[in-house]
Symmetry: D2
């Protein structure tokens, strides 16, 4: 179970807030969130910007890898874009822990539309610092 | 040389515009742009959000891979985050073509602060469609 | 179901053969294989070489993405190494299709030891050529 | 300058040796090596196996990131394959340090043929352990 303190910390994310990203579920090593693609998130080809899709996946990743209350920072993220998305679409981002060692966490991220179609898939590595902002380390 | 038509097309990017990203240089296979980190781009740890840094790199990538007037879409991007950035910092994003085949383009992306310190480095693959919005294909 | 012709084609892989890799299962979009780590596969730190582990994952990937009889080539592979492996260990490599479009296939690859411990995890993109060596395209 | 002790350690790599990989140059943060593609390194399509090409890049990476005498292990490698290679071709692999922090090193890897054509390009992350096998740490 993730404490209220940890959840509050994660919701201080200003960039995710500015895109209207909502945190739907949070468990240790797992997070699910949503975002509605708005006109301000489109690219020059008038479809959802890859970077907006990335932001949703990345927020889920940050929530999942920080869910223990231990400060975790992104080392790297590799994302594949699979399908185009129109303005108005509601997207669901999920991050699931594949493996965790003392220092490193590996996460699988997906972004899907409400029909379940895979829009993007990513693999992300977190570096776990010896610092806690909540949870068992405190 | 990149035509005005191509440049105008690239500047229709609403998401880049909403983050105040500016296109500084554009040549075939190369682009350079800038972004000032604002408070609305911070993450829960109060440093520049990885996704905002990604957006700068991704805009440079989109500009570089579409610089021929041939529609190119991102297949995948892999980004490494190397250093934390505070609010107010001006970042420079660059994308350079490493290789291009009929269908595929490979780009190396960097994000640096004004002192030249490497903040993020990425490798990105574009898929080149048989469609043109400007340039030699028209 | 994968035809005998397709299976025979995949088994012509000389590099996989030279490492003693065996194909255990093959379905459309999925493959499972095994490899025993030998002394000749160790690195300077006397543990299994990352490139040997990669080879097992990559063979599973090649089998899965070519399982339709359509020629598919690797565009890129991104692999995370999670744990060290000693000589003598039997490893299991699996590749599963995450998504497939007309031109592109995305695969999730894992390498585990016989106890199920995750040794490496990868995400791989294939480009599907308009050529067939077997299957429905012929 | 890299000491003889460090160089000898790197040359204990049995897997690289089994593929005939030679170390041509070694400086702190940089390595260059070569490999001749043999029939035993071909894949089912009778071109050089991606995993053999990866092995050359990975050996250059291991040499470059261990060049300080500090034990460095691969966290992840992301490789793009750009061109097919025939048996008999001599390939040159290079690894150059892009950035290094206390714990992490980022490297850019290339594999080229003797004419300089880019065959593969990779980005690789090393984790630097608090252990030394040679050099300044001892």
């Amino acid at each position: 179970m993730v404490s209220e303190k940890i959840r509050e910390h994660l919701l201080r994310d200003k960039f995710a807030e500015s895109l209207g990203i909502e945190l739907l579920e949070l468990r240790e090593g797992y997070a699910k969130c949503s975002m509605i693609v708005r006109d301000a998130m489109l690219n020059a080809h008038k479809i959802a910007h890859g970077a907006a899709i990335f932001t949703l996946a990345d927020f889920a990743f940050a929530a999942a890898c920080n869910s223990y209350g231990q400060v975790a920072v992104a080392l790297e993220v590799k994302i594949n874009f699979l399908d185009a998305v129109k303005s108005g679409t509601r997207l669901i981002g999920e991050a699931s822990e594949e493996a965790v060692t003392k220092r490193i966490g590996l996460y699988h991220l997906t972004v899907r539309d409400e029909g379940g179609k895979l829009i993007a898939s990513a693999q992300a590595t977190a570096y776990r610092k010896q610092e806690w902002f909540g949870g068992r380390g405190q």
